[in-house]
């Protein structure tokens, strides 16, 4: 009982091999196998399923998907290497997601937690999403416990820090954000097996942030850049959203949406998929109003589901 706390890296590694998320991974105590069937490992981990889901459910994002496949392959090979008795040390998987608003950073982070869980890299596979407010305190001595609490909650899963550049405020040298960054760095380095940190934010500001915090930048192995969606991808996203909301577009609405998207993209504060979601929400509002105005009419299932062209064309964007 009086043993000293073992170096965190070794505890994590030991406990991870027996993680519940790693179904039939051979225990390291068993004599190392001579050869490993990578395909069988892949089938075991169900990771192919998640990757296919990712492909099917997320439109666009080609470079991001390619990078996730790379990471999955790396982890599978790492597991295969362990089975034949090659100790490589676990790879560092802290990431940064950069991209404009609404490009799917949070959604992908959630998937990433699942994938890492299936591959047995994180033990629980939950996502804790935080911003500056959750990490940085308001007075001296408030920041460290607050940051540590969040880190403890995220252990065994993925910590997603949205708009991470707000942690560092160079204009205020007494800002407590620096303290949060230091605690974060320490855990990212020493407890690599316990959690994966994903920093997210807009590309240009993240770059400045990393430049002024070289320690942070050097501990992040994977920088994923989320490209903006093209108009046709946004149409696909709209179709996917309507499907989950159980609505459908009439032919005139499809044409209206086709015109709407390029117009909206030119306006300020365009937030990719988020803008599309908002536009659809407003169209639902107008549809409800329209249906309400037609007093005395029996509404069938079809009428309740269909968004007409006029619902979209009433938007300010067409003025």
């Amino acid at each position: 009982m009086n043993e000293t706390p073992p170096a965190p890296a070794s505890t994590g590694a030991a406990s991870r091999t027996g993680a519940p998320g790693a179904p039939s991974a051979a225990a390291p105590s068993v004599a190392p196998a001579d050869s490993v069937d990578l395909q069988a490992l892949l089938a075991d981990s169900n990771v192919a399923e998640v990757l296919d889901e990712l492909d099917a459910e997320l439109i666009g994002l080609k470079p991001v998907k390619a990078r996730i496949r790379d990471i999955a392959a790396l982890l599978l090979v790492e597991r295969a290497r362990r089975q034949v008795g090659l100790a490589g040390g676990s790879p560092s998987l802290h990431m940064s997601f950069t991209g404009n608003p609404g490009t799917g950073k949070t959604t992908v982070a959630m998937r990433m937690a699942q994938i890492l869980h299936r591959l047995g890299y994180v033990r629980k596979g939950h996502l804790v999403a935080v911003t500056r407010d959750d990490l940085v305190g308001q007075y001296i001595g408030h920041t460290a416990p607050k940051t540590k609490e969040v880190l403890k909650k995220a252990m065994g899963g993925v910590l997603f820090i949205d708009e991470a550049y707000y942690l560092y405020r160079p204009e205020n040298e007494r800002d407590y954000g620096q303290e949060a960054i230091e605690i974060l760095l320490q855990v990212m380095e020493n407890q690599r097996d316990d959690l994966v940190v994903i920093l997210a934010g807009y590309a240009d500001r993240m770059e400045t942030f990393f430049r002024s915090n070289p320690g942070l930048s050097s501990r992040i192995a994977h920088h994923l850049d989320f490209p903006d969606y093209r108009p046709e991808e946004l149409e696909g996203i709209a179709a996917r959203m309507l499907e989950t909301m159980q609505y459908r577009l009439s032919p005139s609405a499809v044409a209206a949406l086709h015109e709407y998207i390029p117009l909206r993209m030119k306006l300020p504060h365009f937030a990719n998929a988020r803008s599309i979601r908002n536009a659809l929400d407003r169209a639902r509002l107008r549809q409800a109003n329209r249906l309400f105005a037609q007093k005395g009419r029996q509404l069938d299932r079809d009428a309740l589901m269909t968004i007409e062209g006029e619902d979209l064309r009433a938007s300010r964007v067409f003025d």
Partner: protein, 139 residues
């Protein structure tokens, strides 16, 4: 004298791997984990010092283990226990409590015999360690 208390008191001291497994079990039941320490070994001493706040919303034992290690580092020569609190209505109490640290040397207890009316004797125990002021025991 090796003092035992709480769940698993009949077992040898738990290793870190075993502690982790117990904490994982407690978290899987939805219980909150708290770490407490004391340097007063009397069996009727229920209220130990809290090491930080109880940890709600943990998902993995790693977070609790960090606190156990931090507490051991700050108070190596004390008794430390891990409590698992069940907030379910009807329980609202500690469901699991076990020791995870003890001082290197435990001097044990003095049995005092107090003679009262007639030749009747009242017994009481007093820990040798607790004869020193709080914070100066188990040096």
């Amino acid at each position: 004298m090796k003092i035992t208390q709480g769940t698993f008191s009949f077992l040898p001291d738990l290793t870190d791997t075993e502690i982790r497994a117990q904490v994982d079990y407690a978290l899987a039941q939805g219980w909150a984990i708290g770490v407490e320490y004391t340097d007063d070994p009397h069996p009727r001493n229920f209220y130990w010092e809290m090491w930080g706040n109880p940890m709600f919303d943990l998902r993995d034992a790693a977070g609790a283990m960090t606190e156990v290690w931090a507490c051991r580092k700050a108070h190596p020569q004390t008794y430390i226990r891990v409590n698992a609190f069940d907030a379910t209505q009807g329980f609202e109490t500690t469901r699991l409590s076990f020791m995870v640290n003890r001082p290197a040397v435990e001097p044990g207890f003095l049995l005092k015999r107090h003679e009262v009316g007639g030749r009747q004797i009242q017994y009481t125990i007093e820990s040798y360690a607790a004869q020193a002021p709080e914070g100066q025991r188990y040096k």
